[in-house]
């Protein structure tokens, strides 16, 4: 497992990792904000 880290591969993996969790979290935050807006509009 102690293989060398390729710089390009790692950068891609970093981007993909953060994109996936950001997409999941972003979906949750946006949906919750839509719900939360009802506090001020209802």
């Amino acid at each position: 497992m102690r293989d060398d880290v390729s710089r390009g591969g790692q950068t891609a993996r970093l981007w993909i990792s953060w994109l996936i969790v950001s997409a999941l979290l972003g979906y949750g935050v946006v949906q919750t904000l839509i719900t939360a807006a009802k506090l001020f509009t209802s």
């Binding site: 497992m1 880290v5 996936i20 999941l24 979290l25 979906y27 949750g28 949906q31």
Partner: protein, 474 residues
């Protein structure tokens, strides 16, 4: 085959970016955080099984009790076997919980839901919750609060993802289901497909975390990190304490009380949030706050709960763990008192106070692993964290019990006003005061509990040398 998941096979190669670890941890916590979204399909389960609120509510209770128990019991195993195997086992239990639960719904066997989502899923929850914590602390010795805050923020975010997703999936599988209508329930087959989809989807996302997680090499340190600076802080140990010894210390139990009090107070609001805001602004039998607006308030609380986990835990890296808990508990006392006395004067004031309180609740969860690291070192911090989480299970029972007992004595739901909440809120001020005093009494762990400085390591392979070096520098 499982040996490929062992700690010794997951040591990061030179140059491995530590910023790959937080998304790996988030992949786990975002999935298991679903446990706080079970209310979305609760009514559908009640209709499908023709069961009582309590009979369905028990599924969630079993899962939370199993979370505390499995985190406490499996903590040492998680430390010994490393994060990758722990995350894999967690993913298997969590996904199996959904699949067995789906079988229970399909065959109308409620006990299979207890066994599946409750028991198996609960074990996955407990192991998954603690699996990335000690690894994150070892990768981020310079910013442990930020690292654990990021992961535990995911647990709060998990419910925010699962709630709308479950509603949308149920509508997709059962076009007759209307999530906007509180009286509408989804069919049994839609519930089965929801559980199957969530089980498979969560397993895949969690495997992404399993794939990316690595433990740092024993001699690894972040660029520019000077352990001597850590050693210079008064409440931060450079020694290591085992989980078995940690539970014998006064500081562990004081911190248990701190977490218990902080969670008890927060759950008091969280559990009652929707009816509470309506009751606070009720006059002449009708509330000025609509059901939809109350739902919006619950959503806002979720956001602050999640944001508090990251913001306050990161702040604790700068101001220290003890001071930030003094803030959670001390300022929390003032906010609870203000809520009880003046909460009913304006909706904006009520919302503001409740949101800050909930951010402290989340912050308390996220900061505690870093506090444990400061007190007991990195050696078995995950296992110690697991044992401390029994405070969460206890608070999960105590918080709602306190609030509901007071409210039951005040009148029937739908007729209560702000005055009915005052006894419960002032009780929470007292609970926070107990936690505040407990936090003040926390002291560094006496040397007799420290691990020997030579011949042992943090990782079970060689990292205890780091502990030995740090002990020396203390």
């Amino acid at each position: 085959m499982l040996s490929a998941l062992d700690r010794r096979h997951t040591v990061a190669p030179p140059g491995y970016s530590r910023w790959l670890i937080p998304p790996a941890a988030l992949a786990i916590h975002l999935c298991i955080g679903q446990v706080y979204a079970t209310s979305v399909y609760k009514n559908s389960l009640i209709a499908h099984f023709d069961a009582s609120q309590t009979a369905i509510g028990v599924i969630f209770s079993i899962a939370i009790v199993m979370l505390g128990l499995s985190a406490a019991v499996a903590g040492t195993w998680v430390e010994a076997n490393g994060p990758r195997k722990a995350m894999f086992v967690s993913a298997c239990f969590w996904a199996a919980g959904f699949l067995v639960g789906a079988a229970g719904i399909a065959t109308k066997q409620l006990w299979l839901l207890y066994l599946g989502y409750g028991l198996l899923g609960g074990i996955g929850l407990g192991i998954g919750y603690i699996s990335p914590v000690s690894t994150l602390i070892k990768w981020f010795p310079d910013r442990p609060g930020l690292a654990t805050g990021l992961a535990i923020m995911g647990f709060g975010g998990g419910a925010m993802v699962a709630s709308p997703l479950s509603r949308q999936l149920l509508s997709f599988y059962d076009p007759g289901y209307d999530p906007a209508n509180a009286g509408s329930t989804a069919s049994g087959s839609a519930l089965v497909w929801l559980f199957l989809t969530l089980g498979v989807g969560y397993f895949l996302i969690m495997m992404f975390g399993v794939f990316n997680v690595r433990v740092p090499a024993p001699d690894w340190r972040p660029a520019g990190f000077d352990p001597a600076r850590v050693a210079a802080k008064p409440m931060v140990t450079t020694a290591n304490v085992s989980a078995a010894n940690a539970v014998k210390t006064r500081s562990f139990w004081l911190l248990w009380v701190v977490l218990f009090c902080n969670v008890t107070a927060g759950i008091g609001i969280l559990e009652q949030a929707s009816p509470m805001i309506q009751d606070f602004f009720r006059s002449g039998g009708t509330s000025a706050v609509t059901v939809a607006a109350a739902g919006g308030f619950v959503g806002l609380l979720s956001l602050f709960n999640m944001a508090g986990r990251f913001v306050w835990s990161s702040t604790s890296d700068l101001i220290g763990r003890k001071p930030i808990y003094l803030m959670y508990l001390g300022v929390g006392m003032v906010l609870y008192a203000l809520l009880a006395l003046f909460g009913q004067t304006a909706t904006a004031l009520f919302v503001l106070l409740a949101c800050v309180i909930l951010s402290f609740y989340g912050g308390g969860f996220a900061t505690v692993p870093a506090y444990l690291r400061d007190l007991f070192g990195t050696f078995e911090v995950g296992a110690i964290h697991g044992r401390l989480l029994t405070a969460w299970s206890a608070a999960g029972v105590a918080g709602p019990l306190i609030v509901n007992a007071f409210l039951d004595a005040q009148g029937k739901p739908g007729t209560l006003t702000a005055a009915a909440y005052r006894p419960a809120l002032f009780t929470m001020v007292g609970v926070l005061a107990v936690g505040f005093i407990a936090n003040l009494l926390i002291r560094p762990v006496p040397e007799r509990f420290h691990e020997p400085a030579d011949g042992r390591d943090d990782e079970g392979t060689g990292a205890r040398k780091v502990g030995a070096e740090r002990s020396g520098s203390r």
